[in-house]
């Protein structure tokens, strides 16, 4: 029963939107706005064929590799910079500079440096996704409670054990907030990295459709991106709920008191 209710809440608005779209395109013939039926028709035809393997899967693979690499770099770097005072003083001003550079402007630069390769596209994704994770991790590591830190210290929990048992769990709410931002950024950068001088991928395909006036096909590609975003968000929320069960529980207790 509860599952049905949740499903109803999740689906209500999309159903309404599709309905509104269907009504507004009834009886009209607009070249640029296809009817829902036409789109669904094209959707299956375009994406559940060889394109799934030649464009969709490679894009998703690059996105995943890029995002995971960004998370690893961000967390490792964040723990180091957050824990070592002189490192923070040394790096933080420079980090602000690099963070301010919009990743899309790096695409031509990276093409020159790395060529039109998968590595280049992954590098673009990393260059954008690393910042939210890195900066949030630094903040989370710095915010470790003093009493908790003293407790760990008196019990000889130092070095790697300190990172594993104290620093990482303590910073995990901030880290995950950063990861969440990175995921949506990653999707955007995945598309952008495929729009310039590329020969495959979701972004490339959508641009191709657009240039060849295959309008329903183009729209269907945009729907694929949207669905991808939704899937990533659901997976993230599920993971977050499990990792931060203690955090949400504690907050609930605090709010009830």
């Amino acid at each position: 029963m509860k599952v049905l209710k949740t499903a109803a809440y999740v689906l209500a608005l999309p159903v309404l939107l599709v309905l509104a779209w269907w009504v507004s395109t009834l009886g009209t013939v607009n070249f640029f706005v296809p009817t829902p039926a036409a789109l669904v028709n094209k959707f299956g035809e375009v994406w559940f064929g060889p394109r799934f393997f030649s464009d969709v899967l490679p894009s998703i693979a690059r996105l995943l590799i890029g995002v995971v690499a960004a998370i690893v770099i961000g967390v490792v770097g964040g723990v180091l910079i957050g824990s070592v005072k002189w490192l923070r003083a040394l790096l933080e001003p420079t980090l602000e500079f690099f963070r301010a550079i919009p990743p899309p402007v790096l695409v031509p630069v990276l093409i020159l440096l790395m060529g039109i390769t998968d590595s280049m596209k992954i590098a673009v994704i990393i260059s954008g996704c690393v910042w939210p994770v890195l900066l949030n991790t630094i903040e989370g590591v710095r915010a470790v409670d003093g009493v908790l830190s003293d407790s760990a210290h008196t019990y000889g929990i130092d070095g790697w054990a300190r990172v594993r048992y104290l620093v990482l769990p303590s910073a995990s709410p901030q880290i995950l907030a950063g990861v969440r931002q990175s995921l949506s950024l990653g999707l955007i950068l995945m598309v952008i990295s495929e729009m310039f001088a590329s020969s495959s991928g979701l972004g490339f395909t959508i641009v191709q459709f657009q240039r060849s006036f295959a309008i329903p096909e183009m729209w269907s590609g945009i729907v694929v991106l949207g669905l991808l975003g939704v899937a990533m968000s659901f997976i993230f929320q599920w993971a977050e709920r499990n990792i931060l069960r203690w955090y949400h529980g504690q907050k609930e207790v605090e709010n009830a008191a």
Partner: protein, 298 residues
């Protein structure tokens, strides 16, 4: 790490020698502790009381190796303390911030042992015993924040017990729990202390608590801190909340400590530093009613 135990009494488990701590701040130096010297024999339960702001927490941080003293030294079993020693466990006042909220009760108690590489079977036994000793054998799967304040502090005590320290430091551990829970926890400390034979240094601002718990009470002066008086609590070894607290001797000792604290607050300082006075002639005049006896948190 050199054994500079020359001055320490040979049987001392914990020895504080000429400890001084000055904080350097932007507004100039602040002398929190001037010159503290006292010894704890192995297996002793001593309470440390002092007016608020007398540097109790500073002292405890120096003893536990969390902070380096400006001058003087702390010796644990004859060895100089330069970082948190393995033979020492600390229970902090802020129970809500001393347990790992992402770990269940059992994992919290187990973690220090796991970190030391204690074998699994031995670990399980120690954790079970410790949880049993504090009366929490029924909640190992709970998270700390699911428990009441008193129970959380029991978990912290269980973690300290399981660690098998030779010295147990407690920094106003019951200041933030309600009065009834506090009475239970005080009795728990006496029981644990007797059972384990551990040396306990119990810091408190509550005069009644110090007299009820301790075999000895060390009274600190106001800041900059020295030892104001060091008295033996000659109450029966078996103590209970009702009878012990209604003994005439309890009242006498309590008055005495109370007066000393009042003197300390007025800035009175002992004539000769480190001269332990016996509490035989405890005065019977009740202290001024305006004085607080333990309502202020640290």
């Amino acid at each position: 790490m050199q054994p500079s135990a020359a001055q320490a009494a040979p049987e001392a488990m914990l020895s504080v020698r000429g400890l001084k701590k000055v904080y350097q701040t932007d507004g100039g130096d602040v002398e929190a502790v001037r010159n503290l010297t006292f010894d704890l024999r192995a297996g002793e339960l001593a309470c440390l009381v002092g007016p608020s702001g007398s540097g109790k927490t500073t002292l405890l941080k120096c003893i536990s190796g969390l902070m380096a003293p400006t001058e003087g030294e702390v010796l644990l079993d004859g060895k100089r303390v330069s970082g948190p020693p393995k033979k020492m466990a600390v229970v902090f006042q802020e129970y809500g911030r001393s347990l790992f909220p992402w770990m269940r009760v059992r994992d919290n108690v187990e973690l220090p042992l796991k970190n030391q590489g204690v074998p699994k079977a031995e670990r399980d036994r120690l954790v079970d015993e410790a949880l049993e000793a504090v009366g929490l054998a029924h909640v190992p799967r709970s998270y700390p924040w699911q428990l009441s304040g008193g129970m959380q502090q029991r978990v912290a005590i269980a973690r300290a017990i399981a660690y098998q320290p030779e010295v147990l430091l407690m920094d106003e551990p019951f200041a933030a729990v309600d009065a009834q829970t506090r009475a239970d926890l005080e009795d728990l400390i006496r029981v644990v202390w007797k059972k384990l034979g551990v040396t306990v240094l119990f810091v408190t601002h509550d005069i009644d608590e110090s007299v009820y718990l301790g075999e000895r009470v060390i009274i600190l002066s106001s800041s900059p801190t020295v030892v104001q008086e060091d008295i033996v609590i000659d109450l029966p070894a078996e103590r209970d909340q009702l009878n012990t607290r209604s003994l005439p001797r309890f009242t006498e000792l309590r008055h005495h400590v109370y007066e000393q604290i009042q003197l300390a607050k007025k800035g009175h300082r002992p004539a000769a530093a480190g001269a332990p006075a016996a509490a035989t002639a405890a005065a019977s005049t009740p202290a001024a009613p305006t004085a607080d006896s333990g309502a202020s948190g640290a």
